[in-house]
């Protein structure tokens, strides 16, 4: 038994509450959860994620997260940078709200965030109805759950897709099961009017395994790459139709510009880069879109019968691609694209930013220098930045050191940043009971100059 296991046995001394009766009495949070009255025969295939790697860096300048006004700013036909679906312009939103206000029974679903999310799953994700006939009974293909705390104006709905039963592969054979579907979190807002009669719109979609380092309404310089990460299911490499795509769609339909980038699979790792597609005919593809058009960035996985084609040139306008896609996972974030006057955009390379993992400049081994502290755990460091400055042997003095409370999934990190904003090293700190810091771990790119931290070997 490891020392940690022995220590953790202390938890066995805790008295535990019995919450079974409470579990029995908890009300379903979605009317679709009422499907539990129909016993289903389907089984959930546990999602076992494999590996996440990402590429490309980004220089994001963020605007305020959300406008306090109920409707998107700008002229009526301006494309919203906060609303994704079903409408993307103020004029369309206003018209949809008017239909509901007029009592059009065909639009009643718009006043229920769960129904809007379910319709999104059906129409955009290609998942079909939440309840589908199955072997004479009723089976749930996915569960729609309204998160607690949804009140006026804002709601979050979770879509949990249930996979079909799939037999375990025979010993020595590869699984032929398709990859599992991602669980999706759909964020909705009442943009045109709040209250019972206000219509709900999808404003953000996040799949568990498909991450984009962007916030709704954020501003991205045209041509800058975007950071993201993709967790591939372990069965994906054996499923030839499974593919992944990411990209940026600017404007509505195909009037402005789209950029896409395929995602490759290689030994469980993935690289992802978004970049502009060269304008056709030599002109600017974005000149008619205004200086900061609404856009959205996405990352998606799906079944693609024709792998050579981008299966999600515009995930919100699938019919325009001559066919429907079924997404295993989709993350969509509305943003604004800042387009320079000449419309050509900035270079495709940008500074290397930090979202919890270090990525080094081209030619350098990412995270090539890794330190793991086995001592010095007592918090004696008051100023982590000063400690790094004094302890990092060989540190390039030109690098700027900054302490951030949160960076990706890390807390209390000192970043070493070059003049162009690239993060070339970091030290992650823990905090003791007295509020003093101690180093957890550190990584450095060779170009940081750092050879060692205070005598700790790699």
């Amino acid at each position: 038994m490891t020392d940690a296991k022995q220590r953790l046995r202390a938890l066995d001394r805790l008295d535990t509450p019995d919450v079974w009766e409470r579990a029995l009495s908890l009300e379903p949070t979605s009317e679709l959860d009422g499907s539990a009255e129909h016993p289903t025969r389907k089984r959930v295939v546990a999602i076992v994620v494999a590996f996440a790697v990402f590429a490309a860096a980004a220089a994001f300048a963020w605007q305020g997260f959300r406008s306090s006004t109920p409707t998107p700013a700008g002229p009526p036909d301006a494309i919203s940078s906060t609303v994704l679906w079903p409408e993307r312009t103020k004029a369309a939103l206003t018209a949809a709200q008017a239909s509901v206000d007029a009592g059009d029974p065909g639009t009643a679903w718009r006043t229920d965030p769960e129904k809007v999310a379910a319709r999104f799953a059906e129409d955009v994700l290609g998942w079909g109805p939440a309840e589908t006939p199955f072997q004479g009974g009723v089976a749930v293909s996915y569960v729609v759950t309204l998160a607690d705390g949804a009140t006026t104006g804002s709601a979050e709905v979770r879509l949990d897709r249930l996979a079909l039963p799939c037999p375990s592969p025979a010993p020595g054979t590869a699984s032929t099961c398709p990859p599992p579907f991602e669980d999706e979190v759909v964020t909705l807002r009442q943009e045109a009017a709040t209250g019972d009669a206000g219509i709900w719109s999808v404003t953000e979609v996040r799949a568990d395994g498909l991450r984009l380092d962007a916030q709704p309404g954020g501003v991205i310089q045209y041509g800058d790459p975007v950071t993201g990460s993709l967790t591939f299911p372990p069965t994906a490499p054996g499923f030839p139709d499974f593919s992944a795509t990411s990209g940026v769609h600017i404007g509505v339909g195909h009037g402005c510009s789209s950029t896409t980038a395929s995602v490759g699979i290689g030994e469980g790792s993935v690289s992802l880069v978004t970049r502009p597609i060269p304008p056709q005919g030599g002109g600017s593809a974005v000149k008619d879109c205004g200086p900061t058009p609404g856009a959205y960035i996405w990352i998606a996985t799906g079944a693609n019968s024709s792998p050579s084609d981008d299966f999600a040139l515009d995930p919100l306008d699938l019919t325009a691609q001559g066919g429907r896609a079924v997404f295993y996972g989709l993350t969509l974030v509305p943003v604004q694209i800042a387009i320079p006057e000449n419309g050509t955009g900035s270079p495709t390379s940008g500074p290397l930013t930090f979202a919890g993992e270090l990525r080094c400049p081209a030619g350098e081994k990412a995270g090539g220098a890794i330190w793991d502290y086995g001592s010095d755990v007592r918090g004696t460091i008051v100023d982590p930045t000063t400690w790094v400055r004094e302890s990092a042997t060989g540190l390039d003095p030109a690098l700027k050191l900054s302490f951030v409370k949160e960076a990706g999934d890390r807390d209390n990190v000192v970043l070493a940043t070059s003049a162009d904003g690239s993060v070339l090293a970091f030290v992650d700190f823990g905090v003791d009971k007295a509020g003093e810091y101690f180093p957890n771990d550190a990584e450095a790119c060779p170009s940081s100059g750092i050879e060692d931290f205070n005598g700790h070997a790699k």
């Binding site: 940690a4 535990t16 409470r22 967790t231 086995g374």
Partner: protein, 159 residues
């Protein structure tokens, strides 16, 4: 009648999983969150969801562990944005639990999650990877670093 029998069987199966797992799961959730309320809420909600999905879950134990910890992680994230007015004064933690909890708090969130799930909850590294959303190799790194840190922190307390 057959349908009713199936429902009863499924209900029994989930209750049996609850009886077998709930104490361990609650303690693990408490070890991860440090908050008995979050632990209870996540545990109850996970089994409530399991009951709603009767017959759809192959491995009730793995499913409820995963759901409970995801719910707990989501609540921790939410509280990070809006810190609650937590009152833990009435919650009794026998020795040496306070020291252990202090050491667990000093770990990074993923180290703490990996250690609590694997070394206390006896969940496989594949399950831990699925809950954290990382590769199994990364789980091993979290475990290695977290164990060393935990040992050092608690040895410091022993001194």
């Amino acid at each position: 009648m057959v349908e009713d029998a199936i429902v009863v069987d499924e209900h029994t199966r989930i209750e049996r999983a609850y009886r077998e797992q709930s104490q361990k799961m609650w303690r693990a959730l408490f070890g991860y969150t440090g908050d008995p309320e979050i632990a209870s809420d996540a545990l109850a909600e996970a089994f409530a969801r399991a009951l709603r999905l009767e017959g759809s879950i192959q491995d009730v134990s793995a499913w409820t562990w995963r759901v409970a910890f995801r719910l707990a992680a989501a609540e921790l994230r939410r509280q990070r944005e809006t810190p609650p007015a937590a009152d833990l004064a009435d919650f009794v933690t026998p020795e040496p639990v306070p020291e252990l909890m202090g050491a667990l708090r000093a770990l990074s969130p993923n180290q703490r999650l990996a250690i609590v799930l694997h070394d206390y909850g006896d969940r496989s590294t594949a399950e831990v990877a699925a809950i954290i959303g990382c590769a199994r190799a990364t789980v091993h790194v979290h475990l290695s670093q977290g164990r060393r840190r935990l040992r050092d922190l608690l040895e410091d307390d022993d001194d």
